[in-house]
């Protein structure tokens, strides 16, 4: 593996609630090179919070602490103001779940993409428009001129999500965090969008964190997977070995999925074990912890 792009060690996030602090992420550690890392978990497991903590997008009520939270060696928790803005949207970008809510509804799509270039002074003048059209073409939008002028509501979900991906890639970031980028899309479109993302990420040698609740999607797309339970990583596994995961939670999740090729009268449901909250972490290549 190449030198780490992102280093996370002992990341804790807690939210201040009426009855004290509520932990959302607990002691999460991982490193990321120029590779595709999947973070999988159910709702409330803290997967999106990790992505937001890296981008420092969490609200004031969140208490974030970590032994290390570094991007290209730079301490993310120490960054303020302009230094932080230089990073966000330029070096680290994020694709959100639903283009209907994450694109500006009253601004043409092309202008929104162009904004990234202007704000970060990547390009100016006539070059801006040319670059936007070029990236729209790269995400396989057939009629980039039309899409440039279109408002978000004039695009389908798949087109909108491609426009989002274009916006996040145009400044040539080193790390892309994709938070459920395809769960608002139909299965057939999902594949195309993922293929585009895969192609661009590998071609540009970027790092990618794919956050998802969909185990099979992550397994087919990523190199490595972290499985999150109640804010903790309970298992780290090579994506291609996901079917052979060892932690009872991971196994329970996989078993609870209905399968096309395997009919069954009833599905096994997950029996949650309180020990998982503080139990051992299963890592690939290591013995099952006692």
């Amino acid at each position: 593996m190449s030198a780490p792009l992102l280093e996370v060690e002992g990341l804790d996030v807690a939210f201040a609630g009426p009855r004290g602090l509520v932990p959302a992420v607990r002691g999460v550690s991982f490193t990321l090179g120029r590779e595709k890392l999947g973070i999988v978990g159910e709702s409330g497991s803290g997967k999106s919070t990790i992505g937001r903590a890296v981008l420092r997008l969490l609200p004031e009520t969140a208490r974030v602490s970590a032994q290390i939270l570094a991007f290209e060696g730079e301490d993310l928790l120490a960054l303020q103001g302009r230094a932080l803005r230089r990073l966000r949207g330029r070096r680290i970008t994020m694709v959100m779940q639903d283009p209907r809510f994450s694109l500006n509804p009253v601004m043409p799509v092309g202008e929104q993409i162009a904004e990234t270039l202007r704000v970060h002074r990547v390009a100016r003048g006539a070059a801006v428009r040319a670059k936007v059209l070029e990236i729209l073409e790269a995400v396989q939008i057939r009629d980039p001129e039309r899409v440039y002028r279109a408002y978000p509501h004039e695009l389908s979900g798949g087109m909108g999500q491609r426009a989002m991906i274009a916006m996040m890639l145009i400044a040539d970031p080193a790390l892309l965090i994709a938070d459920e980028p395809t769960s608002a899309l139909d299965v057939t479109v999902r594949r195309q969008v993922l293929a585009i993302l895969d192609d661009l990420v590998s071609r540009r040698g970027m790092g990618l964190i794919l956050i998802s609740h969909d185990l099979n999607l992550v397994a087919s797309f990523c190199d490595r997977v972290l499985i999150l339970y109640a804010g903790r990583v309970v298992e780290e596994i090579r994506a291609r070995d996901l079917q052979h995961c060892r932690h009872p939670y991971s196994r329970g999740l996989l078993a609870s999925l209905p399968r096309l090729e395997r009919p069954s009268a009833s599905l096994p449901t997950l029996q949650r074990d309180p020990d998982w909250l503080n139990g051992p972490v299963y890592r690939f290549g290591e013995e099952v912890p006692a």
Binding site: G157, D186, V187, L257, P258, S266, T269, L270
Partner: protein
């Protein structure tokens, strides 16, 4: 139990008119579980909305339990046909307790003995009677969807229309709700019409299904054909291939 013939639904007028459903025909036998699959905008939910009376403008012929669905059906008609919606966060009244939510259909249809009926239906969906006094925000997603199922069941319908009943839920919770639906169907001899984009969910719950595209039925097939991937129409095969991941 359900017979739909040449169903057509059109939205909008003149130049802006959209033919959402066109020439859709299918039959579902009593006690059978039938799936409708397709991508967003293919018209699958619109078909369900016609069957439960939410969509009043339509053409064609619809029969449920031997009675034809008219433009203004009598109230009693819908006692026999109930719907479970996709998102329990959106489909339960946030300021109604579970008890009020479940008692409302009973009041509408003039049914007595409310307390006992509410308790019985909560038991049927696996919720403790103490849940009666909770509000939706005091329930988990799975518990909320159980309440939505209970609300549909409390009128003792013969047909349950399920519109993506598990797509807003985590997979572990989805498994619980799917098991609950299977159990209820076999215990009560219910007829299911399930709309879903998830072919694995459809194959788990249904014995037959229809593939829809752009408002039309492309193909009807038994679930075995779905499993083997041997659908006749190229579009169905594409959909099956895509959902294998």
């Amino acid at each position: 139990m359900i017979a739909v013939e040449e169903l057509g639904v059109r939205f909008g007028q003149d130049r802006d008119a959209v033919q959402a459903v066109e020439g859709v025909s299918f039959r579902v036998a009593e006690g059978e579980s039938f799936g409708l699959v397709g991508e967003s905008g293919c018209g699958k939910s619109t078909v369900l909305r016609v069957l439960c009376g939410l969509q009043r403008e339509w053409r064609g012929r619809v029969e449920i339990a031997g009675a034809a669905l008219s433009r203004r059906p009598p109230r009693g008609f819908f006692r026999g046909v109930q719907m479970v919606f996709q998102d329990p966060y959106g489909s339960l009244h946030p300021r109604f307790t579970v008890d009020a939510t479940l008692a409302e259909p009973l009041a509408i249809h003039g049914l007595g003995d409310r307390r006992r009926r509410v308790e019985r239906v909560l038991e049927a969906v696996g919720l403790d009677p103490a849940f009666r006094y909770r509000f939706p925000h005091q329930l988990s997603g799975g518990q909320r969807q159980r309440v939505a199922v209970a609300r549909a069941l409390i009128l003792e319908p013969r047909v349950l229309l399920l519109d993506e009943p598990t797509s807003a839920l985590d997979v572990s919770v989805q498994a619980e709700i799917l098991n609950l639906l299977s159990t209820l169907r076999s215990e009560r001899g219910l007829t299911f019409l399930l709309v879903s984009h998830d072919l694995a969910v459809v194959s788990h719950l249904c014995s037959r299904l229809a593939v829809m595209r752009a408002g039309r039925l492309v193909e009807q097939l038994p679930v075995e054909t779905l499993r083997s991937g041997a659908a006749a129409e190229p579009y169905s095969r594409e959909l099956i291939e895509a959902s294998r991941g």
